[in-house]
């Protein structure tokens, strides 16, 4: 049994999104994909997948690569939009268009029930985001909310709380994923812009920790016991030292945030999950088991391939060095529990 929690389906071509936009927005300019400064050399996606249509845009091909070749039973589709766009009302329409396209092209035609989807919403338009959650949350194949990693403010801030409240009310985890695009973008590191793609790709995923820290410290998790966040670009490998720091400061300054009524690290099991990433973890697989024990990471991590990204990782690579129990948790158990996906017997 394998569940792939991080797959990016794409439109066949950039203009395809316009078929799903309302008339009032159909002629607006929208950034194409792969238009941001930090591109992987040779393209963001697997070279063998570029063809007449975009990588990851044909459901049958994706199904063949994931379900037949990689042995995956369920795949969580988490499409990107086009980055943060200054016209937040337009961006909300783009999110809705992506959602309608995902249902139309991927989820509803899938009679095998192996694809699950994400409701993309725009946090810069909290009212619109809540409305989009209310519009689609009842669909049985939409299993999470999707928001960009890039944000003007960390997600623990109060303007976002209505979105998280709506997600929690519908039992939907919130997946945070880097949303590359040519919209209004922000410096990818605390210290500004990386020089080249490796600096960007290595450090951009780590921004999740700012969202996570504020969700804890501002009491969002405390007020919404059912709220779960999935950090879909990984970064779980830096979790432990940063949680140690947060725990240490909490002991000294608890009185400033008394709604944090336990060690910050104690919020992790009920509220936080990670998708695996090709860039995470010890470079020496022999250290993997021990490292996974810190902060209980074996219960937090879920296999995610990042297909069709150039750094797509196979289940074998994601589980390298893990013991049998850790392997099961990472490859399917944690995801099965989070998304309520029934366990299937693996043949052979």
């Amino acid at each position: 049994m394998i569940i792939d929690t991080n797959v990016q389906p794409h439109f066949r071509f950039n203009a395809e999104i316009r078929d799903y936009l309302p008339d009032a927005h159909r002629l607006r300019s929208i950034p194409d994909v792969e238009q941001q400064w930090y591109q992987a050399p040779g393209g963001d996606y697997r070279r063998d997948l570029y063809g007449e249509h975009y990588p990851g845009s044909d459901p049958e091909t994706v199904a063949r690569h994931l379900f037949d070749d990689a042995g995956v039973q369920y795949a969580i589709l988490n499409p990107l939009t086009r980055g943060n766009i200054a016209d937040y009302l337009l961006n909300s329409r783009i999110c809705a268009a992506v959602n309608d396209w995902l249902l139309d092209r991927w989820l509803e035609p899938d009679s095998t029930g192996r694809f699950r989807g994400t409701i993309r919403v725009n946090p810069e338009d909290p009212k619109g985001a809540v409305a989009e959650i209310e519009r689609l949350s009842a669909h049985p194949k939409l299993v999470q909310i999707g928001v960009p990693m890039q944000s003007r403010e960390p997600y623990g801030k109060p303007m976002f709380e209505p979105i998280w409240a709506a997600a929690a009310a519908h039992g939907l985890p919130v997946a945070v994923h880097i949303n590359g695009g040519n919209g209004v973008d922000y410096a990818p590191t605390f210290a500004g812009h990386a020089h080249t793609y490796p600096g960007y790709a290595a450090f951009m995923p780590l921004n999740y920790f700012v969202h996570l820290a504020t969700l804890i410290v501002e009491g969002v998790f405390g007020r919404h016991p059912g709220l779960k966040f999935v950090f879909a670009d990984g970064g779980y490998d830096i979790l432990t030292p940063l949680m140690w720091r947060l725990d240490t400061f909490w002991l000294s300054m608890r009185d400033q945030t008394p709604w944090v009524d336990r060690y910050p690290n104690e919020y992790l099991p009920a509220h936080v999950r990670f998708c695996s990433s090709a860039f995470d973890g010890p470079t020496d697989a022999a250290q993997m088991q021990r490292w996974m024990e810190f902060s209980g990471k074996a219960d937090l991590l879920m296999y995610g391939s990042s297909y069709p990204h150039w750094s797509t990782s196979s289940p074998e690579i994601a589980a390298a060095g893990l013991d049998a129990a850790q392997r099961d948790k990472v490859l399917w158990q944690n995801a099965s529990e989070l998304y309520g996906l029934a366990v299937k017997e693996t043949a052979g």
Binding site: L251, R254, D255, P258, D261, Y263
Partner: protein, 157 residues
């Protein structure tokens, strides 16, 4: 001869204290793991007039000293040694702490005023009346018995 048993959870070790009542004096013996018995003595601190509510007397006893506090008329004593890194805890500011008030604009409410000491090094908060750390009650500091007799304050430490 009479024996009383107290179990006091300090930060790391559990102490078994045996009180021996012998006439007017009380001696308490600490049986710490691996160490010999340390004698606890009932000793005069000051007159009650010299320790009004809101004040503290630091008594030079033991390795680190003991602070005797008057919290709104009730007397308490704690070791002058923070369970974090050993700072002189009794030099810390005494005040209250904050708890959650969901209806207040700042979601905060002041509580336990006058009974929380803040460590001067890293701000750890301890409740003088229990020895418990406010954030994590398992991280305790040692407390001692205080009594008043004929207007005089006595510390058993």
């Amino acid at each position: 001869m009479d024996y009383r048993y107290h179990n006091i959870n300090s930060n790391e070790a559990q102490w078994l204290v045996v009180a021996t009542v012998d006439g007017n004096s009380i001696e308490l013996h600490d049986h710490q793991k691996g160490g010999g018995p340390a004698v606890l003595k009932r000793r005069l601190v000051c007159s009650l007039d010299e320790l009004p509510p809101g004040t503290m007397k630091l008594v030079d006893v033991g390795k680190f000293g003991v602070g005797v506090y008057n919290v709104r008329g009730s007397l308490h004593a704690i070791v002058n040694y923070c369970s974090h890194e050993g700072a002189p805890l009794c030099l810390g500011y005494v005040g209250g702490t904050n708890e959650v008030d969901p209806d207040a604009p700042d979601r905060l409410r002041r509580s336990r005023d006058g009974q929380i000491v803040r460590c001067p090094w890293h701000n750890w908060e301890f409740d003088v009346t229990t020895g418990c750390n406010v954030a994590d009650p398992r991280r305790r500091i040692r407390t001692y018995q205080v009594d008043v007799s004929d207007g005089e304050v006595y510390l058993t430490a």
